[in-house]
Subunit: 187 residues, 3 copies
């Protein structure tokens, strides 16, 4: 029983991989940000994401902690979130110490693809506004995410599983993710 | 309001970039090591850097903590320091846990350049004795600094901004750094 | 006086390098896993590694902490262990926060070699079953280990020394490791 965190930069297809890998298994799927906004609403602190972002930093941290505690009680659960979010002020950690130590994940999955593949997928996807990152910037973001994932692992003992989701190779990606999900039923 | 940490290996030009980016703004500039020696003097623990380095490790840690606390109270401030310092015993963290969690920076800036550029800048600079690192060693040091910066970010929630300071492109570097400084006046 | 942690992926030759570097010096050599199983036996919790791995996670963590505390009291000691262990569930941290902060190493040594060299050494070594990792996977494992070593450094202040153990260049590797061992006798 436990929490699996799934991460990956926009365009990498993390949700597709993990949902397919979990097909037929008794595992919940939640998005960290969605649980957080629900808690904010329940507390009357914010009605939507925009209001939530404008809360004082201390309130935001309190919300993050409450969210992590809530998710940690969900049993077998996959939490969709980010290692880092790219902002004009730099890479912002998605799971800082006060979150990751409450979340206590068993495994942090990083779904990756070749930077060129991600670049092309973002180009094709007209339905959402993506960052116009260059191939080099995409490579940098993936490298940064690996580094911080290892810091999260050092803080919690979580394993870090890198899953390659190459073009036309979803089955191979799912196969790589499977031992992580089976790991939930061990011990 | 807050603390911005600026880092970068010798020869990268971090001070030039950040001073130019902060021109005309109401932001203090301090060097971590200088604040530390001033505190050591005031306490009568050491009169110069050499004496400070010879203090028992516990005293040095106490000094680091006092320095971080002092800087954290300075308001809008840019602190010049190092992610790691290269020593014969290996890469020494400049901002270990007991420092970074007291400093609570909003952003950690890493000023970088291509390893070849840094190599050539160090060659030209006759005024100071630099490490005779090879291009590969310079690349390694920059990689190591990115990794530890992400650990600092995980511990504090700080964003990590990578600023490229290429030859003859100071304006572009300054432009990359600007959102970080403007971030001090947000929220 | 202090603890040196020596790490490196299978096939890199970390034990050879460190034993040669410590020749003639008054330094103990222990393997983290061996000390741990001895403590488990003494407590009557497990008789061998297999039984130890089947203990509830909380018991395993308690054992890790007891081991770290025991090693930290050994004086000048080199501890052979892993930055991460590659498992089907991903890279598992060998020195998570509750271990590394008890171990308080002075230096973490990472013995590395070119991924091709490690690949070939593993091929030649018929006496032990090695992971059939590709050259790319070996490169990834070494990159991941550098990243987590920097997180360990951030948590403890330990220096991180990278030692290259190339083919037919043991003497050069030993030379790189020497300042770390001499560092034990300083201060």
């Amino acid at each position: 029983m436990g929490v699996i965190v799934v991460t990956g930069i926009p365009g990498v297809g993390k949700t597709t991989v993990m949902q397919k890998a979990a097909e037929g298994m008794d595992i919940k799927f939640v998005t960290f940000g969605t649980v957080m906004i629900e808690i904010a609403k329940k507390l009357g602190w914010a009605n939507d994401r925009d209001e939530m972002r404008k809360l004082p930093i201390e309130k935001q941290r309190e919300l993050q902690i409450k969210t992590a505690e809530e998710v940690a009680k969900m049993g077998n659960v996959i939490v969709d979130t980010h290692c880092t979010i790219k902002t004009p002020q730099g890479y912002m950690p998605g799971l800082p110490e006060w979150v990751i130590t409450k979340l206590k994940p068993k495994t942090i999955v990083i779904v990756e693809a070749d930077p060129e593949e991600i670049y092309n997928r973002r180009q094709k996807d007209k339905t959402r506004k993506r960052d116009p990152d260059s191939i080099e910037e995409i490579a940098e973001h993936q490298q940064i995410n690996r580094a911080i994932a290892m810091a999260y692992a050092a803080l919690t003992g979580a394993t870090v599983k890198i899953v390659q989701n190459h073009d036309n190779a979803l089955d191979e990606a799912v196969k790589q993710a499977e031992p992580v999900l089976k790991g939930l039923y061990e011990e």
